[in-house]
């Protein structure tokens, strides 16, 4: 699993943005994690909590937003939420809910995006 390296990349990204904005502390971090990434949000959150120690993020609240799978079907005219058969991270089987085909373009669901941070400044 690569939650640890992703957690490190997230922390580096946040610290970079915080320093550019002259933050004295980061109070909140919002991350979007797509349902099609091979990342377990709970594990990610746990590791983030561990590695932020002694950084500007030490006391930040970490919010992880699941991003559902949205598709553009190539077999019919459907655009919208995919049918993922109730499966979640790791096992998503992506189908068009209208025509049941798998020939779809994935629009969302593959992200690991540091969306916003809330910082304190002097």
């Amino acid at each position: 699993m690569h939650e640890l390296s992703m957690a490190q990349a997230i922390v580096d990204t946040v610290l970079d943005a915080a320093e550019k904005n002259n933050a004295t502390e980061v109070v909140e971090v919002t991350i979007e994690v797509g349902m099609l990434t091979m990342l377990n949000p709970e594990q990610l959150k746990f590791l983030l909590d561990v590695i932020v120690e002694d950084t500007l993020l030490a006391n930040a609240e970490i919010i992880i937003e699941d991003v559902p799978v949205e598709i553009d079907c190539r077999s019919c005219d459907y655009t919208g939420l995919a049918n993922t058969d109730g499966s979640d991270h790791y096992l998503s089987i992506v189908k068009c809910p209208q025509c049941d085909e798998r020939n779809v373009e994935i629009l969302t669901g593959k992200e690991c995006n540091v969306k916003t941070i809330k910082i304190e400044k002097e």
Partner: protein
Amino acid sequence: MHKVAEVEVQHDIMVANKKLARKNQRILDKDRVFSVDVVGAIGSGKTSLIEAIIDAVDYKIGVIAGDVISKYDAGRFENHNVPVVGLNTGKECHLDAHLVEHALHDMPLEDIDVLFIENVGNLICPVDFDLGSHMRMVVISVTEGDDTVEKHPLIFQDADLVVINKVDLAEAVGADSDKMVRDVKELNSEVQVIKTSLKTGTGFDDVIKAIDGFITDN
């Protein structure tokens, strides 16, 4: 006075890797190198298959051997007298575009036609990380069990070629290799699936033909 400010960051770590992957592809294209990302389960036969290809074809091959400890596979490739760069991933479970870019610097690209990049044995993690290669070949074997495809659907959805290896052992382990082929086809109707045994040679010519086809189309 302290003030709290909200900062838009919008930095997607997956997208950052994708950008590096495209850069790798540009580096490869500049020297007209066709590259194949080889992913698959641990011990499925990735190294054996690349070794057999090296011995069977005329084009000049280079190999990037990614592994938790790269010296084992890298040493095997070196015995075939091709340029090899080993990539130690340490505790990581996959290669990423950044690691591959480093390896490309050490690879004599002007002297090779086809670059194989053997990924870490893992059917889960490599899905998230594009390396910038022109095609992805997934190698599994019957000994992982004939439910392997069902259990790891995403890696097959993005594959260009799927090899189901060790069919000589199918009976011994009670695996139905035809079921594995059907499972792949259901996930990805366009992908070519080839059953092989590197021990007996079954199916190996079809793998060479398939890769030749991709090189010609590129």
